[in-house]
Structures are given as structure tokens and as C-alpha cells.
């Protein structure tokens, strides 16, 4: 254990894993306290997550936008910024993708690509605003991004009503050529709504890793995040980097919106409240230690938990809200990773 403590890396992996297990255990205890059968509950939960091809398909589908919003949060965080505005960036991205998907008629591959790019650009611009305000006027990005979430929520709703309204609180549907949905993927997962978006999400994860770890731009971005003074000393343009970071982060968030618009729903609903996916991105990034690969794994976990909640309710009669509690607990345990460290340190001393 003592060796383990020395090995920061290993520990960074262990904290989330232990947290996930503890969260599940706590969920089981709550089930017992609530007079539900935890065995049946977890059986239903796991089968709803990955028990059937369809369940697996749905889990992956749900994970796709989560990965992208997790990447958005993680990217900003690694460069010293706290992007709470992923939700808003996701909404404008969603709308942009649906708009381009509906308003143009183009060859399939080109059309999808263009629609996704539109989402990335829209989200990127939406993220750029708080970046700019922070860089130029030192306004804290948390405040601006929270406000912009609301702006995005109402502006997208209004734009749909004005220009894209198909009735029944929905926008027009996108053309087939812009759609990410795939009969093939749906078929091999026996009827899930799985679409090509997961590929986009995985590519985005690689891009995030690549930018941060392999490029000179990433070196600058992280440096500015760690130490602005030293970055200035080294001749980096701090303002430029803050804006760039928020823009890239917003672009990831915008693409998360495209997952919904081009993949799952093929249109956009006039929303009266947030989707929550953007905020879940914070949880995902936290559990995934802001690491691209970790974010993929934690998205799969959260995506699975969310999709399996109804089945747990149906099969074992456990209220689906319990899933929310489990997720909250996992986050709690990750956030108190420090406590886990201390406990592990105690163990190691007694173990000797």
C-alpha cells in the first residue's frame, strides 16, 4: 500500500474505480433500507446496462453525447478553466446541426460532416464569449457560462418557434443525408437507437488527447492553466490561450448537441428546461479524471446507469430515481478522493 501511495498514477486510476464501487454499494444499502430487493435491483440494473445487445446499444448511444460533454469540461479544466456552460453550448450546437441538416440538401457524407461542423462552430462560438470576457475584462467564466446557459435555452427555443417549427413543440426533421442513424448498427444491436455518433465521440477523445499531450498549442494551453505568470514570462499570449481553450471546449460541447440532433432525435424539441447532459459532463469529467480515456469509461458507466434506470424500475420495482442517487454518491466519493487516500494510508500503516 505504501508503494501504491507513492505511485500517483495508479492512485488516480484507483480513486474513481473505488468510488464507483462504493457508490454502487451505497445504492444497495439504500435499496435494503427502502425494503427493495438489492439482488433483483442490481440484476435488473446490470441487464439494463449490458444484458442484451439492445441494452448495450442503448448504453453506447447514451454515452456518446456524455463523452463529448465530458471532453468539453475536461479540456477546459486541464487548461485551468471551469466550463459550466457545456449545457448551453450543447443546445446551440444541437440547433445548428438540425438547422443545417434541415435547410440544405447535399450528398450524404458531406451533409453529415457539414452539420457536425456547424454544431462545433456554434458551440465553439458560444464558448468563445465567456473566454473573451475572461481574457479581456477578467470576468469569471463560471458566472458568464451559467448565464449563457439560460440565454441558449431560451434563444434556441425561440429560434425553433420562429424558423423551424413543425408543430407539437418540435422542429422540422433533418434530411436523411444529414443523419447519423444507422440501420446497420441498429440491427446488430437488435433494435437499439445506436448511431454513428459514438465514432465521432471517440475521434473527439483522441483529438483532445492529441491536442493536449502532443502539440505545442496544448503545451501552451496547459501551461497557461497551471501558471499564468510563468506563461507570460515565457512569451505566451495568455488571453489568446484562454479564448482558444474555451472555444475548443465549446466545440466539443456543440458536437454533443449534434449527437442528439443528428443521431438520437433527428430534430430538436422546444425545451423548457435543460437536458442535463451538459451538467452530467462535469460529473463524467470528474470521474474520468479529466483524461480522455477515463471520460470514455465514465460516460459508458453513467450512460448505462441512465438507460437502465427504467428497467430497474420495471423489473425490480426500484424507483428509477435511485440511479440519480447512485450517480450523486459516486461523484461524492470521487470528490472526496482525499478521504480515500487517507484511509488507504491508514491501511498501509496497519498492514505493515
Amino acid at each position: 500500500m505504501q508503494n501504491l501511495l507513492k505511485n500517483e498514477r495508479l492512485f488516480n486510476i484507483l480513486v474513481p474505480v473505488i468510488s464507483a464501487i462504493l457508490g454502487m454499494l451505497a445504492g444497495a444499502i439504500i435499496m435494503v433500507l427502502g425494503n427493495y430487493d438489492p439482488v433483483a435491483g442490481f440484476e435488473a440494473l446490470f441487464s439494463g446496462m449490458f444484458g442484451t445487445p439492445k441494452a448495450i446499444g442503448e448504453t453506447i448511444r447514451a454515452a456518446s453525447p456524455l463523452i463529448l460533454s465530458g471532453l468539453a469540461v475536461g479540456f477546459a479544466f486541464k487548461t485551468g478553466l471551469f466550463n459550466i456552460g457545456v449545457e448551453g453550448q450543447l443546445l446551440v450546437g444541437w440547433l445548428a446541426s438540425v438547422w443545417v441538416g434541415y435547410a440544405f440538401e447535399l450528398p450524404a457524407v458531406l451533409h453529415v460532416t457539414l452539420s457536425i461542423l456547424a454544431a462545433a462552430v456554434a458551440g465553439g462560438l458560444w464558448g468563445m464569449i465567456p473566454g473573451y470576457l475572461k481574457a479581456k475584462f477578467k470576468v469569471h467564466e463560471v458566472i458568464v457560462t451559467i448565464m449563457l446557459n439560460y440565454v441558449a435555452l431560451y434563444v434556441t427555443a425561440d429560434l425553433i418557434k420562429r424558423y423551424l417549427y413543425a408543430g407539437n413543440e418540435k422542429s422540422y426533421r433533418i434530411h436523411e443525408s444529414a443523419s447519423l442513424s444507422s440501420p446497420f448498427l441498429s440491427q446488430i444491436t437488435e433494435g437499439s437507437r445506436l448511431h454513428w455518433g459514438i465514432m465521432i465521440a471517440l475521434i473527439a477523445a483522441v483529438i483532445m488527447w492529441f491536442i493536449l499531450e502532443k502539440t505545442a498549442t496544448g503545451y501552451e494551453l496547459k501551461s497557461v492553466g497551471y501558471n499564468q505568470h510563468a506563461s507570460m514570462y515565457a512569451g505566451m499570449n495568455v488571453s489568446k490561450n484562454v479564448i482558444l481553450s474555451m472555444t475548443i471546449s465549446g466545440a466539443f460541447a456543440g458536437m454533443a448537441g449534434a449527437m442528439e440532433g443528428l443521431g438520437t432525435f433527428q430534430n430538436m424539441t422546444v425545451l423548457s428546461s435543460f437536458t442535463g447532459t451538459g451538467f452530467d459532463g462535469i460529473a463524467v469529467a470528474l470521474l474520468g479524471a479529466n483524461n480522455a480515456f477515463g471520460i470514455i469509461l465514465s460516460s459508458l458507466l453513467f450512460g448505462g446507469l441512465n438507460t437502465a434506470a427504467p428497467q430497474m424500475n420495471f423489473d425490480a420495482n426500484v424507483p428509477s430515481e435511485l440511479i440519480k442517487i447512485i450517480i450523486a454518491l459516486i461523484i461524492f466519493f470521487v470528490a472526496s478522493g482525499y478521504i480515500i487516500r487517507v484511509i488507504a494510508a491508514r491501511f498501509s500503516k496497519e498492514g505493515k
Partner: protein
């Protein structure tokens, strides 16, 4: 038999890839000032962090007043009467002095923090030990020297009997050092015991009773200061003889590299700190700037390096006007800068030492090609510099944060000198370095000079300025008031000039 207040016996502490303390024994008598001496990275801070409960030793025992104790965290240390003033301060900048002092042990009255009582106690303590600290001042508004006194007060407030000072004088001006020494003497008079880490042998000779020397993590021994001398101490710690004064040839100055004309730079409060300053530095010379802290040195450096906007006047490097250019442009014109504050400006502490070695050059070949970093080349460079400048680190992948203070400094110097810039600005370059490293750095600066580079040296240590410089410019209230030849001046004369006095012979500029 003598009573020891502190006994650390056979302490061993390991870090990944390195044994920082290998079987070290340190015994401190009550009421003494005990020096802890060793090269950069010898393990002094580590040993003290063990005593303060920040690290747990792998082996060894600690006795406080004869009783064996387990110091599991700093709170335990506080309870045992041990207080520490760290090498790098740990204060909350937008809190007041009192708030910082009570942080973590807030006195409460009916659930509310009772600031007034605390402030009174702080001011009493401050008076008793002659610290003259204003309990209501904000940390960000007070000088480094004052901040250090706040750290001292913090330990006293918690009832410390044994005070650990980790390189307290490295960040102080000569005047502040004198005052600190008086404070320490007062503390021992009042029955406290002090462990003092310092690289300045003069200070050890002046205030300490005994001195324990460690080398590369191993204890070498303890000597009575009255029975030793600086040469012996230096030899003990380095393991070889050290020359305190570097040998150098007469300088052969050539073309003007840095040309400053009527420069005005304002400080953070928008008051002119540099106020119509003229200065030339030539290729092949080291120009030292002597001055009391706060006479515009910081703003001058920041103005030249592009970290602060210049109000008026001009700065030319190699004839090219660089006034108010972006920092990168100035750097590319041929500027190297060893910054005064290594943690604020010099390093990205969370980056590996390797990544820090290319802080200004990461985007250039061969470290980067069409925007893609070549870590192979970066670490290769880092290995070379680590080797050449004797930076003691387990590897080039170690985070800069994990290096000892002096080795962090050596890494910065390696990076800046290696770029071999036409103009090298060295601000307090040897702050926190051991005597061996100082000798090495001084010879490096002279080597740069002999290679035809211009070196601008800013130091609060007159001895350093006098030993290394070819010309000394005295700065006073934002202007260069005189330029003297180090061979023809004395510390007394410099001191007088720095205080705004005039020299007999006028007009030698």
C-alpha cells in the same frame, strides 16, 4: 548529560527514485540556534518537513524533550511546540495578517470568530519580539520580509517553543536580514530553540551555536560554530574546497547591446517606479545593479522583458527598438531572463523538469515541428542541461515541484544561460543556492561575458555585485545615480550611494 529539546535519530525518508534522508541524526539543545547546512538537494527541507509532520519517515525516531513522539501531521507538531517558517511561504494573499495567523485554529466566541481578541494577541506578540507587524494589514500589501514575520508570528501564536526556519534569509534584503537576526536572538533569549537552514556561511558564523552538516542525504556531523570557520564548513558540505571568489579576466566590452533611454515604468499602483532611467550594457561585460529593494529594480526588469507596459522612454536591444513589444518578440530578439521569483515566473511547477527546460523554445525546431511536439528531443535537451548544470533530480520526468528549491533555481539558470542570449538579465540568480553552486553560476555568467554576451545582474547582495560585475550601476528612486568600478569602490561607498548619497568625484558616467 545535556538536555536536548529535539532529537531526530537515524531518520530515513525516501521519495520515488531517491533517498532524501539516509540515516540522519540531528540533536538540538534548548535555547540554541542550530544551523542545518548542506548542498542544494541534500535533504534539509525534507528533514525539517519530517520534524514538522508533513512527511512520515520510513525509519528512525524523533524525541521531543526526551520523550519519543510520532508526528503524524503539522497539528501534532504544533501541539508539541514545533513551528515552521517554510522556504516558500504559505499565506492567503487577500486575507489580513490576523486572519492568516488564526487560520486553522480560529478562536470562537459563541460560534463566531473573534478577530479582535486575536488581533490583540498578535499585536502583543509582535511587540514582545520586536516584529512590528500590523495585524490588520493585508498580506498582498506587505513586503516579503513582513510576510515572513507573519509566518514567524503564526508559529509563536500557536505556542511554538522550537522554531524551524527554512532558508529565511534567501528572500530578504541585507537590512531585513539584520533585523531577522535580531529577532532570532530575541527568540532564544526568551527560551526558544531555533533550527536555521541557510546557505550563507556568514550567517551561521554570526548567530549559530552549532551546525549539523548533511551531504547527499547523509549526515556528516555536527560542529561547534565557535571552533570552525567558513572554509571548513564549505568543505564539509561540498566534500571539496570551495573558492568564494571567482577568478576572472579584465572585461573587453564591445558594442552596446542594451540601450535604455529616459525609461519610465509605473508599478502596480500606477506610481512611477522607474523614473527617467538611462543605462547601457555592452557586449562582453557584466553590469551589476546595486540598490535597496524597491527602488525600481523589479519594474525595470519587467519593463525590459515585456512583462510590464513602459510609460515612456525607449529600450533597444542590439539597436532594435523593443519598447512595449510582446514578451515573445523580445525574447526572440535575444533576451534571456533569470527571474527574481522562481515559483511565480520561472517554472510551471506542475510540468516535468524536462518540459520546463523548453518553456520559451517549445514551439521551435527541433522541439516542435509543424505544431507537433517532439518529446524525444525535449527530454534529450533536458538530460543534457541536467547533467551540465548538475541539477539534482531523479529524472527529467520528475515534476519541477518535487525538486529542492536550489535545484529548481539551477534548472532555470541552465535553461536561460544555455539559450546563450545576447542579453542575459540575471535577477538574484544565486538566491537559495549553496556555495558550490554559486561558484559555478558565477563562473557561467563570466563565461557568457567572455563569449561576448551582455549580462545585466541585479542582486541585493553587495558582495555578489562586487565580485561578479565589471561595472556597477547604482539605482536610487528609479534612476541610475552613479556608475562605479567595483575595483575602486567599497561596500561602504556603495551603501552610501544606494541611500541616495553623492560621491566626491562627480561626472564619471
Amino acid at each position: 548529560m545535556q538536555e536536548y529539546v529535539i532529537e531526530m535519530n537515524n531518520i530515513r525518508k525516501e521519495f520515488p527514485g531517491i533517498v532524501a534522508n539516509d540515516n540522519i541524526t540531528l540533536q538540538v539543545k534548548k535555547g540554541e540556534i542550530h544551523a542545518l547546512l548542506g548542498e542544494n538537494g541534500a535533504g534539509k527541507s525534507t528533514l525539517m518537513n519530517v520534524l514538522f509532520g508533513l512527511y512520515q519517515p520510513e525509519k528512525g525516531e524523533i524525541k521531543v524533550k526526551g520523550k519519543e513522539v510520532k508526528i503524524t501531521d503539522p497539528n501534532v507538531a504544533n501541539r508539541l511546540g514545533i513551528g515552521m517558517v517554510h522556504q516558500h511561504f504559505m499565506l492567503v494573499h487577500n486575507f489580513t495578517v490576523t486572519e492568516n495567523i488564526i487560520l486553522g485554529s480560529e478562536p470562537t466566541k459563541g460560534g463566531k470568530i473573534n478577530i479582535e481578541d486575536a488581533a490583540k494577541k498578535v499585536s502583543e506578540l509582535s511587540q514582545r519580539y520586536g516584529l512590528s507587524v500590523d495585524p490588520h494589514a493585508k498580506i498582498e500589501d506587505i513586503s516579503v520580509g513582513m510576510q515572513q514575520r507573519v509566518e514567524i508570528l503564526k508559529t509563536l501564536y500557536r505556542g511554538a517553543e522550537i522554531l524551524i526556519f527554512d532558508e529565511p534569509t534567501a528572500v530578504l534584503t541585507p537590512q531585513e536580514i539584520k533585523e531577522l537576526i535580531q529577532i532570532m536572538e530575541k527568540l532564544v533569549q526568551e527560551g526558544k530553540s531555533i533550527i536555521l537552514i541557510t546557505h550563507k556561511l556568514k550567517e551561521i558564523m554570526e548567530v549559530c551555536d552549532r551546525c549539523t552538516v548533511i551531504r547527499k542525504g547523509k549526515g556528516i556531523g555536527t560542529v561547534n560554530v565557535s571552533e570552525t570557520n567558513p572554509d571548513e564548513l564549505a568543505a564539509l558540505m561540498v566534500g571539496r574546497e570551495v573558492h568564494f571568489k571567482v577568478e576572472k579576466q579584465q572585461a573587453t566590452p564591445k558594442d552596446v547591446v542594451l540601450e535604455i533611454d529616459q525609461l519610465v515604468v509605473h508599478d502596480a499602483r500606477d506610481i512611477p517606479s522607474v523614473n527617467g532611467l538611462d543605462l547601457n550594457v555592452r557586449a562582453g561585460e557584466i553590469l551589476g545593479i546595486a540598490g535597496v529593494d524597491g527602488n525600481g529594480q523589479t519594474e525595470l526588469i519587467e519593463g525590459i522583458t515585456g512583462l510590464r507596459k513602459v510609460k515612456s522612454g525607449s529600450i533597444k536591444i542590439n539597436g532594435k527598438d523593443v519598447t512595449n513589444l510582446p514578451a515573445r518578440k523580445i525574447t526572440e530578439t535575444g533576451l534571456g531572463h533569470i527571474p527574481q521569483d522562481r515559483h511565480k515566473h520561472g517554472l510551471v511547477l506542475d510540468y516535468s523538469i524536462g518540459a520546463n527546460m523548453v518553456l520559451q523554445t517549445y514551439y521551435q525546431k527541433p522541439f516542435s515541428k509543424s505544431g507537433i511536439l517532439n518529446y524525444g528531443k525535449i527530454y534529450e535537451k533536458a538530460r543534457k542541461l541536467i547533467e551540465e548544470y548538475d541539477v539534482r533530480t531523479p529524472s527529467e520526468f520528475t515534476p519541477a515541484r518535487a525538486l529542492s528549491g536550489g535545484n529548481q533555481q539551477k534548472a532555470i539558470i541552465a535553461r536561460e544561460v544555455d539559450r546563450s542570449p545576447d542579453l542575459l538579465i540575471a535577477a538574484q540568480p544565486t538566491r537559495g543556492l549553496d556555495v558550490g553552486a554559486i561558484e559555478f553560476i558565477h563562473s557561467k555568467l563570466i563565461e557568457e561575458r567572455d563569449n561576448g554576451k551582455a549580462v545585466l545582474l541585479i542582486s541585493f547582495e553587495l558582495e555578489e555585485v562586487m565580485n561578479v560585475s565589471d561595472r556597477i550601476a547604482v539605482i536610487y528612486e528609479g534612476r541610475i545615480v552613479d556608475i562605479v568600478d567595483p575595483k575602486e569602490t567599497s561596500e561602504q561607498e556603495l551603501g552610501l550611494l544606494m541611500a541616495g548619497g553623492k560621491r566626491e568625484r562627480e561626472g564619471v558616467l
